[in-house]
């Protein structure tokens, strides 16, 4: 099987190790990975802040970059939700504004081919035990767009529970938003920080060594708060845990 990796702009520029982990993980599972170089950003920051027109060229670019790929896999629930849920909406709005059906066609064509990583592993590849090894105590924060936007359900936790050596502890209030919210983090910094502070306090109280998530944007916010507080808890993207093996442990 051949898939195209949509690494996302945040992972490309700030968290390349997440993208590298996805490549190693998928290749270990016998999947061939392509990285279409024309990709950049899905346009979520623009769209969610109210700049729909600025989003349209990025929709077009993303759709063109992944044209012809049956499976597009991304390690970000919010970027996957952007493409699956909002691209068709943006296309319909453009049609409603009398600007032709091209954008809508691109959106409708791409949306069903995009998979968040855990969906792809569990639903398409049909695996929950990916042969990973990570001998640590981990708690999992389900980011809102994956949880409610995509309906990922317990897929991430099932994948983590199957990791050898991993002790998964439940995060109290897991389904509450961490307070990142894209530009919300800078437009409403006080509320954002208060929400994040409660989230890291809950995570720390579990006694876990690692706070795991499947969206590096939320983790950047939580990690930023943890490091400012000099807390011993560290954040890790799910893909990095799933990519770790006894032969190739996490660096």
């Amino acid at each position: 099987m051949r898939v195209a990796l949509f690494v996302t702009c945040v992972n490309d520029a700030l968290y390349p190790r997440t993208g590298i982990a996805v490549v190693r993980l998928l290749e270990r599972l016998g999947v061939d990975v392509d990285f279409p170089a024309g990709q950049s950003c899905c346009g979520q920051p623009q769209y969610n802040t109210g700049y729909r027109y600025e989003t349209e060229p990025l929709l077009r670019r993303t759709a063109e970059a992944f044209a012809g790929h049956a499976y597009v896999v991304t390690p970000s629930g919010s970027c996957a939700a952007m493409i699956r849920e909002h691209y068709p909406r943006i296309g319909r709005k453009a049609v409603g504004e009398g600007r032709g059906s091209e954008l809508a066609a691109l959106a409708e064509d791409l949306a069903p081919r995009v998979y968040e990583l855990t969906e792809f592993l569990v639903d398409v590849l049909g695996v929950t035990d990916v042969g990973a090894y990570f001998p640590h105590t981990v708690t999992y924060h389900p980011s809102c767009h994956g949880l409610r936007g995509l309906g990922l359900g317990d897929r991430p936790r099932r994948l983590l529970a199957a990791v050898k050596g991993l002790d998964l502890v439940e995060l109290p209030g897991a389904e509450e938003c961490c307070g990142f919210g894209g530009t919300f983090a800078v437009k409403n910094p006080d509320v954002s920080t208060a929400m994040g502070a409660d989230k890291i306090a809950s995570a720390a109280a579990t006694g876990a060594e690692v706070l795991c998530g499947a969206d590096n944007s939320c983790l950047a916010h939580l990690d930023g708060l943890l490091r400012r507080a000099d807390a011993p808890l560290r954040t890790l993207h799910l893909a990095e845990i799933l990519a770790a093996t006894e032969e190739e442990p996490l660096p």
Binding site: V7, C9, N11, D12, A13, L14, Y15, P16, G19, I20, F35, A37, G38, Q39, S40, C41, G43, P45, Q46, Y47, N48, T49, G50, Y51, R52, E54, T55, P57, L58, R61, R89, C144, H145, R148, G149, E176, C177, G179, F180, G181, G182, T183, F184, A185, V186, K187, N188, P189, D190, V191, S192, T193, A194, M195, H221, D223, G224, L225, R227, R228
Partner: protein, 496 residues
């Protein structure tokens, strides 16, 4: 002292929220109250196997009614009139206040008792009556606490949610005597003692009142029936004891048939108070068959149908779903932003997620507070998940952000206008455009990433400008040695 001292204009949401976040007592009160009701609601909803179908049915009834609102309102007017009521139409708050003030004046009375009502708060009726020399007494326990405390409501269903028992006891002790029967002395802060103090204080008001003002949760077009849901019985006192009853109701509260209530009698109590059945549901149709002749019920009934921005909202294809709202407040109780910011930060009688989409539509996005409300959310989607009429609040939030940031069509006072982008968003607009241009040129993006990687030793701990909002409380992510794009090119030799 006036019951409602003039308050300054509302600041934008982030500024108002800042104070709330730093108020430890407020945050503890809100956290305790919202989590308790949130957990109870989840249990009450889980009891119903057909919740999803009830939710879809509620949405469908409301959408159908909104689509044919003109027809159902005329049918309602006819039915109410036939049952001995009088219907008045109010285009805006001023007109509604004028109508009610004149109706009260015509009775010769100088005081009214009130059933808790969002519509009368929306139009500032109490203040308008006070300016006309008429005292309006709130009889809902939480509204009484707010009124006695010279405060503003901060929650749709629990207006005094921001107060704890000790604060309420202090308010009762110092204020009740100024408005009628004083609180018993001594007064404890046990809920039973507080309820008894309120009961004694209010009983005097109920028995003396000749005029009552209410809202309504629903109006039935086919029968002309008004429906009020409440939990304390104070509403029933107001709706049955006085001679004159004046109800001010938003035009979106109409449903076509009596049978439609079946849905909302199940979804509203469970969503709002986590109760299987509503404690007091009062229904009245005009003056009823006796027309008050047997001394049972009012002898005059007036219905003021309030528009106040609702038909403008109805004209918006995406935003109109906010008019489905049945004011259950489930979205407030589940919202993590509301939990930290408190209801007052929303600068409106409609706080929380529903307020963030309703107020900027009813009032327009012109003021600082109304332009900031669509951004008072992380778009986490918890509000949509719990909404019993399936209002996609995140979708409307993004839609309204668009109106603020890039402008677009809107309807104000029945006229189609083009909203210009907000001026204070100029710098943000430039940044979004620059980011898009960079992202639209992966070659340039790659160069920028390399520049970033090379500059990583220079990475400052604190950023200037808008970035400061991040670095004031959070570390920045550390910059990697190379981007994923470059790693791929090096490892996999993908031609760029």
């Amino acid at each position: 002292m006036p019951a409602f001292p003039a308050l300054p204009a509302f600041p934008a949401f982030p500024d108002a929220a800042r104070d709330a976040v730093r108020d430890d007592v407020l945050r503890a009160n809100l956290r305790h109250a919202t989590h308790t009701i949130r957990d109870k609601r989840a249990r009450a909803v889980a009891e119903l196997e057909d919740w999803d179908r009830l939710r879809a049915a509620g949405k469908a009834v409301k959408d159908h009614t909104l689509r044919h609102l003109d027809r159902y309102l005329l049918q309602l007017e006819e039915a109410v009139t036939a049952a001995g009521g009088t219907v008045h139409w109010a285009a805006d708050a001023d007109e509604a206040n004028r109508i009610v003030t004149e109706l009260v004046r015509a009775t010769g009375e100088r005081e009214v008792v009130k059933v808790k009502s969002m519509a009368t708060q929306e139009i500032g009726l109490n203040e308008a009556l006070e300016a006309a020399g008429i005292a309006a007494y709130e009889t809902d326990l939480a509204e009484l606490i707010v009124q006695l405390g010279h405060d503003r409501p901060s929650h749709i269903l629990v207006p005094a949610i921001h107060r704890n028992r000790a604060e309420i006891r202090d308010i009762f002790r110092t204020e009740m005597g100024n408005w009628g029967r004083p609180a018993p002395d001594p007064l404890g802060d046990d809920p039973r003692d507080l309820a008894e103090a309120a009961r004694l204080h209010l009983r005097e008001k109920f028995l003396r009142a000749k005029v009552a003002v209410s809202g309504a949760n629903f109006m039935v077009a086919e029968t002309g029936t008004m429906v009020v849901f409440e939990s304390e019985g104070n509403g029933r006192m107001c709706l049955t004891l006085p001679d004159t009853l004046i109800s001010v109701v938003g035009i979106e509260k109409v449903v076509p048939t009596f049978r439609d209530l079946e849905i909302f009698l199940q979804t509203l109590p469970r969503s709002s108070t986590a109760e299987r059945m509503n404690p007091y549901t009062t229904m009245w149709t005009g003056l009823g068959p006796s027309r008050g002749a047997d001394g049972d019920g009012p002898s005059a009934f007036h219905l003021v149908l309030l528009d106040n921005g609702r038909t403008d909202t109805l004209a918006d294809e995406t935003g109109r779903q906010a008019l489905r709202c049945i004011r259950c407040s489930a979205c407030l109780n589940v919202c993590p932003v509301y939990e930290r910011a408190g209801g007052h930060a929303y600068g409106s009688v409609y706080p929380g997620p529903i307020g963030a989409i309703l107020s900027p539509q009813l009032r327009g996005t012109g003021s600082a507070i109304d332009a900031s409300l669509p951004y008072a959310s992380t778009l986490c989607g918890a509000c949509y998940e719990v909404c019993p009429v399936a209002i996609d609040i995140p979708e409307v939030l993004v839609h309204l952000r668009e109106r603020v940031a890039q402008g677009g069509p809107a309807t104000r006072d029945g006229i189609r206008v083009r909203i210009r982008p907000a001026q204070r968003h100029t710098a943000e607009r430039a940044a979004m455009r620059a980011a898009r241009l960079l992202m639209d040129h992966p070659g340039a993006l790659r160069a920028a990433e390399r520049l970033l990687a090379r500059a990583r030793r220079l990475a400052p701990r604190r950023l200037p400008g808008a970035g400061r909002a991040w670095t004031d409380t959070r570390e920045l992510p550390s910059l990697p040695a190379e981007s994923f794009r470059d790693w791929w090119a090096r490892e996999r030799g993908n031609p760029q």
